[in-house]
Structures are given as structure tokens and as C-alpha cells.
């Protein structure tokens, strides 16, 4: 019997294997490394210790920070509410229990996929075309992909639950709605709460990134400081952002322990609307801006055909996938690898501080810093993206490790196992499954994020999209978004397949 079972790699190996990409990346970087940018890089890190404390600057940045926070909070609460609703509607279990049919849920699920396959930044730049510089543009840009993503996570959670309780209660004649609440909601609730809490952190970083690309808030200030290499001013903003992130995480932790998360999401829209009023931030109802009329069909068709023909798809898609794979490798593999090298608590805390820092630095900034030290290659783009997301993954890992019951490790150590092996099998292994489930979502995000590291020598679809947007070349923008969406969906299908087999 045992021989007939297929060999499966242990989750812990799957978690560590991606770190293999660090090797080729490291070789390329070492080859291209140069000392010419040391001075600037040194200036950057020194500036972290002595950020500008100019009162007018700080006042200004604080006001902008509030706009970023407001945008993020509003987007987070709306996307949580919409995501919960859509998630319930797109769960096949719920749908078939209530109506006896599966297909409405499946259809809804597929319809939501394009929404989440487009990066919030691209949503932002597209909505900007339709509504102008209105506060809702940034909010909606986050709400659209985030609610679709939450819907997917929730539906996945609901549909993956074991069903005996549901069936038993149904056989006992319990009404469908009550049955669903009793048998499905409790096991899903905890995971969902974690996810919603984590999304606030993501929303804050998204709001910052939207600002970087021109949609207001602290990001705009940071980008202007970065472009003019005013690192001290840049760090004032980054530290403010770090404080905000820390504060929000604290609040979320407190609230989710006391079941206050849902209340917060309900109350936030009202509070933020008033808040925007005080900040003089335009959150009035967005008005549809009449653009140029649509060209006649024949012209549109010619434009689309020409744009399709003149774009080197193979090269662009190839480069994008390569960056995604390399960056995902770094993001997923680096945290467990470094933690394995230093399994003790002391270095662990230092690593955690490192992850917090990585997550704080927006990818365009990381890319510029790396570019000052290395020749512009695809490896630099991948590493910049990978390092930013390794910050996110590192924190997910730490969070997972904290939840692991230490008794296995203690037992192994007591039996004479080396400390590192005991940690690997006693702590990391049990935490791996949750970590990997999260990693699958993260690689989707990384694929979409390739849009933000265009900086490095015309790297892939993301760069092409930025170029097309800045040339207002709409036919090409349309194709690029479509290709992005298809790639994301294929990626999702692949990761679903892998998860089913695992």
C-alpha cells in the first residue's frame, strides 16, 4: 500500500526550496556589483538616523499622512464589507445549500477574477481618467481588487471545510440559513479575522503606493523627495508611515481579540467622511468626466490590431514571468532560510525588525537603492520586488511561528536532537502549511507588482504598461491589461492545482 502512494515533498521543503533562486541572483549581482553608489547609499541610511525635523515639512507630511490613512481605512472597511458579501455569494457550499444549484456561485467567482487580476495602481490610473483627481479614485482603486480578493479567500475557506456537520444538521431538518451559520461560520471566522486584519496593513501600503504614482497623500510627497534624492525629508515621511503601520497593527490586534473588527469596518465610512472634511480632502461624489468620444469601430479595430502587432509579447511576457518567479523565490524562500540559519529568539527579533523595514520601503525606492550598487539587470528588478515582499512574508512567518506550540521542539531537544533540526522539524514544519497557503496569494500579488518596478531597463509588461499609459496609447493599454489578467488567472489555476495535489 505504502508503495502505491506518490511521494510528496514535506511542506517545510516546499517552503525552503524557493530560496534556491537566491543563488543565481546572488551570482549575477556579485558580478555586476560596483562601489560607485556607496556614497549615496550611505547617505540614504544615515538619513534614516537623522530625518528632517523641519516643522513646516512635518506639519505638511502629517496632513498628507492623514489622507493616506483615511484612504486606506475607508478602502479597507468598504472592501471588507463588499468582500464578505461577495464571498458568501460566491461560495458553492452556501449556494448549493440555499438554492440547490452550484453554478451561480461559480459564475460569480469567475466574474470577480478580472477585478482582482489588475493591480490597484492600474485601477487608480484608469479611474483617474474617468473621474479626475477625486479622493474616491484612490479608495475605489483599492476597493475593487481587495473585495474580489477577500471574496476569493472567504469562498475558498467556506468550500474547503469538511461538511459532516452541515450534512448532519440538514438531515436533522435544521433550516438552511441557521444550518450555515452554525456549521460553517465558526470554523471560518478565525482565519477570516486574521485575513481582514492583515488587509488593513496591505491597504495602507497600497494607499502609499497610489500616492507615489500621483494620487495624493504621503506617497506623493515621498516620491517627490525620492526623485530629488532628498533622503532626510524622505525618511521623515517613512518614519511617520512606520508609526502609522505600527499603530494600526496594534489597534487591529486589540480589536480582533475583542470581536470589534466588524464594528470598526461598519463605523469607519462615516468617520472618514467627516475626517476628510476637516482635511480639505475631496471626497465628494465623483463626477464622470466626459472624455473624447469613442472612435468608430473600424478605426478602433485598426488601432487594436496595430497595437497587438507592434508589441513584442513573447519577450515582455517572458521577462515578466522570469521576474515574478525570481521575486517570488526570494520573497517566499528567504524568510524561512534566514530563520533556519538563526533560529534563536535574539536574531529572530532582529530579523523581524529587518522584515518590518523591508516592508516599509516602497519597491521603487528599493529598486533605486539596488541600482546605485549594481548594473541594471532583470535580477535587480526581481530582487527589489522580492525583498519588499519578503518583508511581508517574513512577518507572516513570524506570526505563524509564534502560534506553534513549542512542545515538539522541546521534546526533540530533550531527546538530544541538534537545536537547528529541532527547530526545523518541531517549529517550522507545523507552521509551513499556513505559510505556503499564504505564499500562493503572495505570488499573485508579485506578478501584479511587476508593474511598479519599470525603473530597471525596460523590464517586462509592467514597464510597457507605464509607457503606454504615459503615451495615452489606449489600444495597447487595453491589450496589456488583458494579458496581465490572463497571466494572473493562469497563475491562480496553477496554484489551485498544486494545492489540490498537496
Amino acid at each position: 500500500m505504502a508503495l502505491q502512494r506518490r511521494l510528496k515533498p514535506a511542506p517545510v521543503l516546499v517552503a525552503l526550496a524557493p530560496a534556491l533562486v537566491v543563488l543565481p541572483l546572488g551570482i549575477v549581482l556579485l558580478r555586476d556589483l560596483h562601489g560607485g553608489g556607496v556614497e549615496q547609499i550611505g547617505r540614504f541610511w544615515l538619513a534614516a538616523l537623522q530625518p528632517s525635523l523641519d516643522p513646516t515639512l512635518l506639519k505638511h507630511q502629517l496632513a498628507e499622512l492623514q489622507i493616506t490613512a483615511l484612504t486606506a481605512l475607508l478602502a479597507w472597511s468598504l472592501s471588507s464589507l463588499a468582500g464578505l458579501l461577495l464571498g458568501v455569494l460566491s461560495s458553492t457550499t452556501i449556494c448549493s445549500t440555499l438554492t440547490g444549484r452550484r453554478w451561480p456561485a461559480v459564475v460569480l467567482r469567475r466574474c470577480l477574477a478580472p477585478l482582482r487580476s489588475i493591480h490597484e495602481l492600474i485601477w487608480g490610473l484608469l479611474l483617474l481618467q474617468l473621474f479626475g483627481l477625486n479622493g474616491w479614485v484612490a479608495v475605489l482603486a483599492i476597493v475593487l481588487p481587495y473585495s474580489a480578493l477577500l471574496a476569493r479567500v472567504l469562498a475558498d475557506q467556506l468550500d474547503q471545510q469538511e461538511l459532516p456537520a452541515l450534512i448532519a444538521l440538514r438531515c436533522a431538518g435544521v433550516p438552511a440559513v441557521i444550518n450555515l451559520f452554525t456549521s460553517l461560520m465558526p470554523p471560518v471566522a478565525a482565519a477570516l479575522r486574521d485575513h481582514i486584519g492583515h488587509r488593513l496593513d496591505c491597504a495602507l501600503r497600497s494607499a502609499l503606493l497610489l500616492g507615489i504614482f500621483g494620487l495624493g497623500g504621503l506617497g506623493t510627497e515621498l516620491m517627490l523627495s525620492l526623485q530629488s534624492l532628498r533622503f532626510r525629508e524622505l525618511w521623515s515621511g517613512l518614519w511617520l508611515m512606520a508609526l502609522l503601520l505600527a499603530l494600526m497593527n496594534l489597534v487591529i490586534r486589540r480589536l480582533s481579540a475583542r470581536h470589534g473588527l466588524l464594528l470598526l469596518t461598519l463605523a469607519l465610512p462615516l468617520v472618514t467622511l467627516l475626517w476628510s472634511h476637516r482635511l480639505n480632502h475631496d471626497l465628494s461624489l465623483p463626477r464622470w468626466i466626459q472624455g473624447a468620444p469613442w472612435p468608430p469601430w473600424a478605426q478602433l479595430r485598426d488601432g487594436l490590431t496595430q497595437a497587438w502587432v507592434e508589441t513584442p509579447w513573447l519577450e515582455l511576457v517572458g521577462r515578466t514571468l522570469l521576474i515574478t518567479v525570481l521575486a517570488s523565490g526570494v520573497a517566499i524562500g528567504l524568510p524561512p532560510l534566514l530563520r533556519l540559519i538563526a533560529p534563536d529568539d535574539g536574531p529572530g527579533r532582529m530579523l523581524k525588525a529587518g522584515w518590518l523595514l523591508m516592508r516599509l520601503l516602497p519597491p521603487p525606492l528599493t529598486a533605486l537603492l539596488l541600482m546605485l550598487a549594481s548594473k541594471p539587470t532583470l535580477a535587480v528588478a526581481a530582487l527589489a520586488l522580492g525583498l519588499h515582499h519578503s518583508g511581508v512574508m517574513g512577518l507572516v512567518l513570524e506570526d505563524g511561528l509564534e502560534r506553534v506550540d513549542g512542545r515538539h521542539q522541546q521534546a526533540m531537544v530533550a531527546l538530544g536532537a541538534p537545536r537547528r533540526s529541532a527547530w526545523l522539524f518541531g517549529v517550522l514544519t507545523p507552521a509551513s502549511r499556513r505559510y505556503l497557503a499564504y505564499a500562493a496569494y503572495r505570488s499573485d500579488v508579485i506578478l501584479r507588482d511587476t508593474a511598479v518596478v519599470g525603473l530597471v531597463g525596460g523590464a517586462g509588461l509592467g514597464w510597457q504598461l507605464m509607457e503606454a499609459l504615459s503615451s495615452f496609447h489606449w489600444p495597447q493599454v487595453g491589450w496589456l491589461i488583458l494579458v496581465y489578467a490572463v497571466l494572473t488567472l493562469l497563475g491562480e489555476l496553477a496554484s489551485e492545482q498544486l494545492q489540490e495535489r498537496a
Binding site: 549615496q40 483617474l128 483627481l133 504614482f213 500621483g214 495624493g216 517627490l224 525603473l455 525596460g458
Partner: protein, 306 residues
């Protein structure tokens, strides 16, 4: 059980009460003024501190001379500035050559009002890292030396940091595919171009000569590592563009008044001197839409204007 439920009940009550109070306060605090506000903006090519000082002073100046409320809206992205202008989120914008053309094409009726004295004959410089072995170029046809080199532009929509340098390269037989890596890199800004060339990451870079000079004057450039190898022929660049509906919203003849206010800025007043100094100009001079026809043609040729 009641013990566990109490905090939830309290929280619900508090939230509802708070929300009510807020919505009431929100209603009474609605904006009372309906006076139109002139929203000015600029493409991002300066540091934020300077932009805020610059546009703060200019807003005050315009507000005084035009007798309307003026607000400066910062934008950090060239394409976003163009879209914001088209959608009416910005009324009067300091555009670069290319972005101004893009904005006017998308906003029929928009008018070029003025440029700086230096904009009529603006230039870009090509700078090279000392270790690249590139020598100063005496005639444009020597630009072929740049084939196979790592070259950095600034922002993808910059006239002086990308469009015109790329145009002059093309005129002299260097296509983007001839560069190392199959294409140029984009540092994102003029200052960043200096940094990436000085560090040696890129061998050559092209940027706005005005920004280059101010960096040299402020001692932010290491002359032992990076030097100018070529200056482009002159072309027209930055300019003020006004939306077509200003007269309609602010009264007959308002656009002309804005133009006059800009042109009459002089170094003889304290604020005028500050604004002109921050703009790096002696004065503003009149400009028309037609002055930018050449830029539009180049933009079309390079696919940046559709």
C-alpha cells in the same frame, strides 16, 4: 454570558451614537462658499520642499493680482498631471513640452499662456561616467559612440530628460535597440539620472541642463566622476497651459488676466523675485500653442503623442 455581551452592546451603542453625531455635524459643517477656486499644479521635476515654497508663493501672488482663491495641488506623476488637467482637477498647469502637448490634445481649446525666458531655447545635456571612457562630443554625428552603452533617461514623459535626447540620438543613427540591454533605463527624475550615472550603474545619461547646472552649483555633483559630453541643440520646453473653461467660470477675459499676471512677475517685488528665482528665470514671456508644433511632431514620431 451577559458579561461577555456587555462590551459588544456598549460598543454598538457608542458607534451608533458617534456615527449619528458625526453625520449631524457633517451636515451643519457643509461648505458655505461657492466661489470657484483656481487650482494650479505642476509636473513633478523639483524637490517637494521647493515645489511647496514655489507654488505657495505663486498662489499668493496670483490670488492677490486676480482676486480669486488659488490652491496648489501637488502631483507626482507626469501622466497623472495630464489627466488631472483634462478632467478639470487642475486649471492652470506648469507643463513640460511633451506633457503640455499631450494635455492640449486631450483638452481641446486649452491655451498656452507663457514660458520662461530660458524655455524658448532650452537644452539637454548628455553626461557620462569617467570610467566609461567616453570623451566630449564635438559634432552630433559622433553620438554613434553611444551605441552599445548603458544609457539612462529620467522620467518616461520628460521632454528634456527623454524625448529630445532620444530624438537627437535617432537623428544621428542611434536607435534605442542599439543601447546596451536592448533599451534605455529610466531613473525617474533628472536628479536620479545624475546619481545613477555618477555611481557608474549607467555609463551615459541625458537630462535637463538647468537641473544639471543647479546641481553643479550646489556642489551635489562630483566632477571627477561625471562630466558633460554633449549639449543638444535648443528646443522649446516648459510652459503654462490654461484650461478652456476659465473665462466661463471666473468671468470674461480671465484667461488673459492670468496671462498678464504671469508676464508681469518681476524681480523688483520681493515675492516676484522669490518666484522667479525658484523658477530659475529672469521673467516669463508670452507663448502660443504653435510654438510647440515641433515638439508635437517629435512626440508623434517617437510614439509619445497618439
Amino acid at each position: 454570558m451577559p458579561g461577555r455581551q456587555r462590551p459588544v452592546v456598549m460598543a454598538t451603542g457608542l458607534t451608533t451614537g458617534l456615527a449619528f453625531a458625526m453625520s449631524l455635524a457633517g451636515c451643519s459643517g457643509a461648505p458655505s462658499t461657492n466661489d470657484p477656486v483656481l487650482k494650479i499644479g505642476a509636473i513633478p521635476d523639483q524637490n517637494p520642499e521647493k515645489l511647496n515654497r514655489l507654488y505657495g508663493s505663486l498662489s499668493d501672488e496670483l490670488s492677490e493680482s486676480l482676486d480669486v482663491d488659488v490652491r496648489y495641488v501637488p502631483v507626482s506623476n507626469y501622466a497623472a498631471a495630464v489627466s488631472a488637467f483634462r478632467s478639470g482637477s487642475l486649471d492652470l498647469v506648469w507643463f513640460g513640452g511633451l506633457t503640455g502637448v499631450q494635455a492640449r490634445l486631450q483638452t481641446p481649446g486649452a491655451r498656452v499662456l507663457a514660458q520662461r525666458d530660458i524655455d524658448a531655447k532650452f537644452t539637454s545635456v548628455f553626461i557620462a561616467n569617467g570610467a566609461s571612457g567616453l570623451r566630449p562630443i564635438t559634432s552630433a554625428d559622433q553620438l554613434v559612440q553611444l551605441k552599445g552603452r548603458r544609457l539612462a533617461f529620467g522620467s518616461e514623459s520628460s521632454t528634456s530628460g527623454r524625448l529630445m535626447p532620444q530624438y537627437f540620438l535617432g537623428e544621428n543613427g542611434v536607435t534605442m535597440g542599439d543601447l546596451a540591454g536592448g533599451g534605455p533605463g529610466f531613473s525617474g527624475s533628472h536628479d536620479a539620472t545624475i546619481a545613477v550615472v555618477q555611481s557608474g550603474t549607467y555609463e551615459v545619461g541625458a537630462l535637463n541642463e538647468q537641473v544639471w547646472r543647479s546641481n553643479v552649483d550646489e556642489g551635489r555633483v562630483d566632477p571627477s566622476k561625471v562630466a558633460v559630453i554633449w549639449r543638444t541643440p535648443p528646443y522649446v520646453d516648459y510652459h503654462w497651459v490654461a484650461r478652456p473653461d476659465l473665462d466661463e467660470r471666473f468671468g470674461e477675459g480671465f484667461t488673459d488676466r492670468v496671462q498678464k499676471a504671469l508676464l508681469s512677475l518681476t524681480p523688483s517685488t520681493e515675492r516676484g523675485a522669490l518666484v522667479l528665482d525658484l523658477f530659475g528665470a529672469e521673467s516669463f514671456i508670452p507663448a502660443q500653442n504653435e510654438d510647440y508644433n515641433k515638439i508635437e511632431a517629435v512626440g508623434r514620431q517617437l510614439g509619445k503623442v497618439r
